[in-house]
Structures are given as structure tokens and as C-alpha cells.
């Protein structure tokens, strides 16, 4: 009990708070500077979503490896420190209610950050005028989709967390009762090109996947992997490769097995709306500042179709559509070089975040708490100044 009490006092101390905040500051600073070279997505993973990291500290021409606690670990520690020191152990008097309130607000905001990190999904929906969709597409995550004449319109989907590790010598096998074959995934690369190398043992028709470093903008990554289909009955196998191309629609790898046509596609992960509803783009409008090519606003008129009922909605910058926990933001549009009568498409960022509005409430709490505390302090300061001698 004594040790527990000591541990509690240690975790609740100002010293620990200062150290955690200081390391968080270092992570933030280094993570910001790192974005110049590695892009936001990779920097975010390395500095802010990690437990530990090694930062290459550059001192003129010297590079010194600096081990640091990662942002993820620091935020868990900060949460504990805040809960124990800022709320449980904090002095509760009429002089300090503001501190307590603002600490509760920050705690709530950290919690919101956690819920967002663990439970939110995000992606985009790209619709041409007249087009509709009931699903959105991830910016970063992948999936393998298997379809075939034998299974009609049914699609079998394997998310990338099941095959991301299948690179180098590793492979991952997938078996499904309804499929007459075992699918083996190997050589997965998150960003790759293709090259001709008939001598490579992995080559498929003389073509191999060529690894590339992560793209600066993570949504520009072009993943690829090798596929082997093993006939469950005969044990015979077929090899192919699939690769996602950001500039062209990537055709699925197609093959024939026992007289049936099959296709396997590597694509960005898709999320169906749950409960189901459809968004149809009626019209996209882009306004320019007169005489310039700078957009003053862009907006979309959409129809939400759900259970046979329809509703017209206008989505524009800073004014998203919120429905069933999904939020649709006007994100961009295209084609950028479209002529006057060309059909345009609108891109919506789609986010499903249970903690969507938590930061707003946290902000109100923190603002109220800090204003209360600093006003009290200001009054005390003014009283002291009135008493102190002037020269």
C-alpha cells in the first residue's frame, strides 16, 4: 500500500507533468520538422502514434540518434498524470476551481483524442454529377476483393491487416469454404512500381514489383503483391500479381479455374454506410473570385436517399453534412483542367467519429475554467499592485 501511495504521488507530481509535457514538446517539434522530408503520414506514425522512437538529431554535419518516448505513450502518461495530479490530488478550494475545471476539460479532450484514434474511420467519396454511392473509400488502407462467375454478385474481401505482414519471405494463405482455391499472398509492398526482370524467381510473366519508399503524401502510395491460387482439389497452382495505380483504374488479376472466371483486385479499403443510405450528387458548383482562377467557394447539391425517402442537402466548405454518425465534408473537385461543359466530380471527405463533437465541449470547459482561474489571479495581482510602492 505504501508503495502504491508513493507511486500515486510520483505519477501525480508536477515533476512528472513537466517531464511529460517537455517530451511531448520535443516530439511535436521534431515531428513537425520531419514532415519536410518524410511527409505528414509517416511523421505522424513515427512521432505521434508510437511508444518509442529514435530521432536523428542533426547537429551541423553530425547526426546523433536520440531515443525518445513516442507521442502515444506520452499521451497515456499525461492522461494518468492529469487524472491523478490535476484532479484527484489537486487542491480543492475556492481559490482554484478554475484549475480543476480546465483539467477536466483537457482530460476530456485527451479522451476524445483516444476515442477518435481507436474508433474513427475516415475516407473519401468521389462522385460525378448524377452518380451515387452508399460506401466510401479509405485514403491509406487496402483490401483484396475476390469475385467470380461461380459466386454471382458476391464479393469476398480480405482487409490489409491480414496480409500486410506478408512480405519478404513471409506469405499468408486464405481459405474460404465457398471458394474452390486457397489464395496465397506474398511480397506485399505498400508502395511499389513494376519492372521487367524475367530472371527474378518471383517474376510473373517477366514482371516484378519494385519496392519504393513511402510516398510523401500517403494517399499517393501504390501497393502491390504477388498472388498464388492453389486448386483445393488438384493442388495445381497459378501465379499472378496485382498493383494499385493512382493514375489509372487498376484491372483485377483474372484467371480461369474449372471453367469458371475469377478476378482478384487490390484496392483501397471500402466502408459501407451502416445503417445503409445513399448519397447522390446532383450538382457541383465552383465559384471563382471574379477575374481570377482562385476558388471563392465550392459546394455540392446532393440527395440523401434512405429507406425510399429522399432529402436535398447543400454541402459546402465549412458546412458539412452530418448523418448517422457520418460526416461528409466538401473536400475537393475535379477534373482540375475541365472545360466549360465538361462533367465535374466532387470529392467528399467522409468521417465516422464517435468523438466528433467532444473537442467542442472540451473547449468550452477549458475556456471557462481558465478564464475563471486567471480572472481570480488578475484580481489578486491588481490588489497586490495597489499595495506595492511605486517609484
Amino acid at each position: 500500500m505504501k508503495y502504491l501511495s508513493k507511486l500515486f504521488h510520483f505519477l501525480a507530481s508536477y515533476g512528472v507533468a513537466v517531464v511529460i509535457l517537455f517530451f511531448l514538446l520535443l516530439d511535436t517539434l521534431f515531428g513537425t520538422l520531419a514532415q519536410v522530408e518524410m511527409g505528414l503520414y509517416e511523421a505522424q506514425k513515427k512521432y505521434f502514434e508510437s511508444f518509442f522512437l529514435i530521432h536523428d538529431l542533426r547537429l551541423w554535419k553530425l547526426t546523433v540518434p536520440l531515443p525518445l518516448p513516442g507521442g502515444y505513450l506520452l499521451m497515456i502518461l499525461l492522461f494518468i498524470n492529469l487524472l491523478s495530479g490535476g484532479i484527484i490530488r489537486a487542491r480543492k478550494s475556492w481559490r482554484t476551481p478554475g484549475i480543476l475545471i480546465s483539467h477536466i476539460g483537457i482530460l476530456f479532450m485527451l479522451l476524445g483524442g483516444g476515442v477518435t484514434y481507436w474508433y474513427s474511420t475516415s475516407g473519401y467519396m468521389r462522385l460525378y454529377e448524377g452518380q451515387s454511392a452508399d460506401e466510401f473509400v479509405s485514403y491509406y488502407d487496402w483490401e483484396l476483393a475476390i469475385s467470380g462467375t461461380a459466386v454471382g454478385s458476391k464479393e469476398f474481401v480480405i482487409p490489409d491487416d491480414h496480409f500486410r505482414h506478408a512480405h519478404g519471405d513471409q506469405h499468408q494463405d486464405f481459405q474460404m469454404a465457398e471458394l474452390p482455391f486457397t489464395l496465397r499472398v506474398s511480397g506485399f509492398l505498400n508502395n511499389c512500381g513494376v519492372a521487367s526482370d524475367p530472371n527474378d524467381p518471383n517474376a510473373v510473366d517477366g514482371v516484378v514489383l519494385e519496392p519504393r519508399g513511402p510516398a510523401k503524401e500517403a494517399e499517393q502510395n501504390e501497393a502491390g503483391c504477388y498472388l498464388t491460387v492453389i486448386d483445393k482439389e488438384t493442388g495445381g497452382s497459378l501465379r499472378g500479381l496485382v498493383r494499385y495505380d493512382i493514375f489509372r483504374p487498376s484491372p483485377p488479376w483474372t484467371f480461369e479455374l474449372d471453367g469458371q472466371e475469377w478476378g482478384i483486385e487490390l484496392r483501397h479499403k471500402r466502408y459501407k454506410m451502416d445503417p445503409s443510405f445513399t448519397i447522390k450528387l446532383d450538382k457541383f458548383t465552383r465559384n471563382l473570385h471574379p477575374g481570377t482562377s482562385m476558388a471563392s467557394n465550392f459546394s455540392s447539391d446532393v440527395t440523401k436517399i434512405e429507406d425510399g425517402s429522399t432529402r436535398q442537402i447543400h454541402i459546402k466548405m465549412n458546412e458539412p453534412l452530418r448523418h448517422h454518425g457520418y460526416t461528409f465534408f466538401q473536400s475537393s473537385w475535379g477534373p482540375q483542367n475541365a472545360g466549360p461543359n465538361e462533367r465535374l466530380y466532387s470529392v467528399f471527405s467522409v468521417v465516422q467519429n464517435p468523438a466528433d463533437q467532444w473537442p467542442k465541449w472540451a473547449c468550452y470547459i477549458i475556456a471557462f475554467g481558465m478564464t475563471l482561474h486567471f480572472t481570480q489571479k488578475l484580481i489578486r495581482y491588481l490588489k497586490r499592485e495597489r499595495r506595492s510602492p511605486k517609484t
Binding site: T116, S296, C363
Partner: protein, 653 residues
Amino acid sequence: MKPLTATLCLALAIAASFDVEAQLALNENATPTWDEEILELAAILPIQEGGRVKPLDTFAQFTMLKLNGKRFMTTEDGKKLYPVEWLLNCLFYPEHARNFKHFRVDFDEVITSVGLEAHDEKRSNYSYNELAPARSKMFQLAGQYSQKEAKLREPVEQQILNLAHNMLQFESLIGALDLLRNTYHVEPDTALAAAFPDGDHVAASVALKRLPGIIESLRSQANEMEKERLDKEVAAVSDLVQAMQAQAASGAVLTIVPPTDASRSEWLSPANSLASENNFGPADPRLISAITHLEKMAALTGPGDFMASLEALHGELETAAASRGEYSKIPVEVHFYKWKYLFYSQWIYVLSFVLVAFTWLLPGNRTLHWAAFTAVLVPTVLLVIGITLRCIIRSRPPVSTLYETLLFITAVAVLVALILEVINRRGVAMAMGSFLGMVGMFLAFRYEAKEGVDTMPQLVAVLDTNFWLATHVTTVTMGYAAGLLAGALAHLYIFGRLFRYKEGDKSLYKTLARMTYGVLCFGLLFAIVGTILGGIWANDSWGRFWGWDPKENGALLICLWGLIMLHARMGGYIKDLGIANCSVVMGMIVAFSWWGVNLLGVGLHSYGFTSGIMNLLMVFWMAETVVVAVGLHVGLRDRVSRRVSQDAQEQGA
């Protein structure tokens, strides 16, 4: 009259006539002068540029600033030209303007690399006529450098690119009225000749009025006309139109005519008069009328005629713009620049700093103290008026561009300093206010001149929300202001302690420490609330509360450092000197968040990117690092001296 007298008279008359001729010749070379009333009326002509309607005065100022780096220039004959006068000369006296040395060049290499001989001075101004022989080489190099990514360009390469762009802009100005300055050949023995019976040449305004009718009549008679005749008629019209189109192209820069069609948002310029978009149908009547007035002005028949045509032009444009609700801000903007609130504010801050210095020499002189206080208050009031006028002109909250952060942060920092001065009346907050005011306004002017673009631009789509601009941007910049003020006050504490200034006056240092801490708390409140508000805005426009974007991280750094300071103080790890030292670091972090992250060139806040201030920032960070080192030295020195006196006491005991 005696013969001798007659001869003398004749000689004097001949001499006098030579004098007159000499004077005329001199006048031809002299820079044209303009009546004050012409300049005043020209200043308030509306023009649509950069997506907004503004006074011609503003257009002239920023065009001149971009080319010249200053808002005035001196001609070869010693005449000082200000923007509107300069612009009128460019438009109406292009041959004179070609000799104006208004192209600022910072590096000799820019001139030598295009095969010209540089002036003796390192930084010098060149005229168009001086640069013209190297025009093709300049554009060839500019084309080459434009292929390079902006941040990889050498300064000389960037300046060649800028200079080529400035030359193009100047060419568009001097050619803006070419359409109206020329007359156009009318092919004899054609329908055209019959339509223009007054001579073999026709003015643009007359041609524009009658051409649509002629073209329409030709179209209707085309089937009945012999082919040879028809070809001749078509060729005559086509030659006339092409000749006019060739001259009209440069006129695009003068978008001064609000279209009659109220649904059309783009204003018209002389270049639109021959646009093929309406199949050479009748041009907008307002445009034809404006061209008629401009034609009379371009004829330069005398100041009276010029003024009469200008009045008529202004009257029509004002009425047209007002009917579209686009004129009301023009007089306010002209007033804003004419009264030079920001300019005077800057120089009165300088004066106030001198007065503040006197208060140090004569401490205890209350009159001087109040004079200095007033001297800091007056420019702050001017600055606040300036900011308010900008809000009225733009119909926006005070901060929506980087330039405006400079004005707003300066105003907030000085106002907080003045409030502190009213509370404790020690003169230190006032001194810091004066210093920050001076530096802030100096930086604002430097930034404006460096960018050389309208400081009231239209905003990109994501910023088009007055609610978030008023809440997030305003609060977070108030946090910046307080962080900088706390850092500035900390300098006084550190250097005061270093030089043992009024060492015995413990209350002075206590007051300084309390002020620094108070300002810091004020700043932290605004920084935290502002940062979270930014997150909420991001959640509404991009779909995520926090994206670790550099600008967001910059604001977070301020919050984190403020919280570290607060908790370190509460935990007893730092005291007054520690707070002062950490406040200096706070100033450095604010500079990083405010300007530094924009230099990284990554992230979603791309509307705030800037370049070319890295050196200034590096100097600031290095200087502040030295100040922190001084602060640490003071702490160490005090600790040693305390120990020595303790030892002495123990030995004495």
C-alpha cells in the same frame, strides 16, 4: 525706330524665340505634371483586380511597390512621383515612363547575366529602356528558372524571374491605352468607307459603335453580293478588327468598367470591346462610353479637357459600380491609404521610444512619463483605427492574412503593455510597448514591400468564414502577442539583473516577474482556447480535429511550453529568473509557430506560405539563445555569490 534699335529688337525677338523653342524641347523631356484635382479624382476610380473592386490608387500603389520596392520614385529631372501620378504617366505618357528608373534590382548579377552593364551601385534601379535590349535573354532565362521548384531557385534566378514578370506588367500598363491612342485604316470603296465618311482613318470608339451594324448588314447582304465584292468587304472588316485587336490586347489590365449585365461578376476592360465571345456583336454600352472618355483623355489636348473627360468617366463608373453595390468601400480605402495611419503610427512609435529613453535619463519626471505614455498611446490608437478601417473595407475580422497578423499582434501587445503600465506605472511596460510597436510596424512595412502585393487580397475557399476568422484566428494571434510581450518583458528582467540595475529595488524585479507571468497566463489562455478552436474549425472543414499539421503543431508548442512553465513554477522548479528565461524561449517558440512553420512549405495551411525571411528568423533565434545563456549566467552568478556570502557568514560566526 532707328536701324540699330530695330536690329536689336529683331535679335532679341529671335533669341526669345530660341528660348521658347528650348523651353518646349525641355518640356518634352521633362516629366509631365498633373493637376492635384486630376490626381485626386483618378485615385478614386474603381478597378477590379485580384478578384475584388478597389480604388485605382491601391492598384497604383501595389504595382509601383512591386516594381520599385517603394511607393515613390524620383525621375531623372528630380521630380518625385507618387503612385497615382506614376500610373497616369505610364498610361498616358508611355514614352516618358520607359525612362523611369523603377525596376529595382538587388544583385548586379541579374543585369550582367543578361548581357547588360550594371550600374555602379550594388542595389540600383533601372529603366525599361535600359533593360529592353536584353528583353529576349531575360525572358529566356526566366522561362528556364520557372521550371525549377521555387525553393530550389537561387536568389539571382528568382530575381530574374521577378524582373521579367515586372517588365511584362509594365508593358501591359504602357500599352493599356494603345487601342484608343491609335486610329485605324478604313479601306476605301467599301461599306466600311461609307460607314466612316470622315476620313481614311477611324478612332476606336467610333469603330466600336458602328462595326456591329456593319457586320450585321454584311451578313444579311452576303447572299446577294458578288463573291469578289463580298471577299473585299470581309477582308476590309477583318483587317480593321485585327488591327484593333492587336492594340486592344494590353488593355486587359484596366478592368474598370462594371458590366451592364448585373449577373456577370467580371468587370470589363478595353480588351473586352473586341471579344469574339459575343461574335463581334455590340460591345457593352458602358464600355464603349468609357472608351470614348479614355480616348479623349489619351488625346492629351490639355488639363481642362482631360479633367472634363475624367469627371465624366468617373461619374459613369461610380454610378455603375454603386448600382451593383461595389463602390461604397472605395472612398474608405482611399481615405485609409491617404491618411497613412500605419505610416504615422510607425514613426510616432520611434518618437515614443526616444521619449521613453528620456524617462530613463530623468526618472521621477511625471510630465515626461505621461508625455512618453501619450506618445505610445497615440500610434496605438492610429494602428487600431487602421485595423478597424481594414475590417470595414474587407468586411472581415481583423486577421485573415500573414500581413494582418503583424498589425494585430503589434496592436494587442502594445495595448496589453499600456494596460500594465496603467496598473503599475513603473515605465517598463510602456518602454516594451513602444519597442514592440516600433519593431512590429517596421516588420509590417518590410513585409509589405517584400511581397509587393495587395495586402487586402481575396481569401481561398476554406478561409471564407468570418465566424472562425473572428474566433480561432483572433484568439490564437492574441496568444502570440502575449507570448511575445512576455518574452520582451523577460529581457528587461534578465538584463536588469545582469547589470545589477537598481539591485536593491526588490519590488521592481518582483513587479517585472509578476507582469511577465501575468502576460504569460493571459497568453496561455488565448493560445489554448485559440488552438482548440482551430481544431474545431478543422473538424468542420477538413473532417479531423487534429492532423499534426505544422501550423497546428506550432500552436501546440506554444501551449505546451506555457503549461511546462506554469507547472514548473507550481512545482517550485523555477522562480522569477526561471520564468524570465523560459519567457524568452516562449518568444522563440512564438516566432517558430508564427513564421517558422510557414517556411517548411508543407501542410494544409498553404495559404500562409512565405519565403525570404529565414535569415531574419535565424538572427532572432541566435540572439535570443544568447539572452537565455545570459539568464543562465545570471542565475549561476547569483548562486555562487550567495554561497560565498553564506561561507563568509559561517566563517564570521
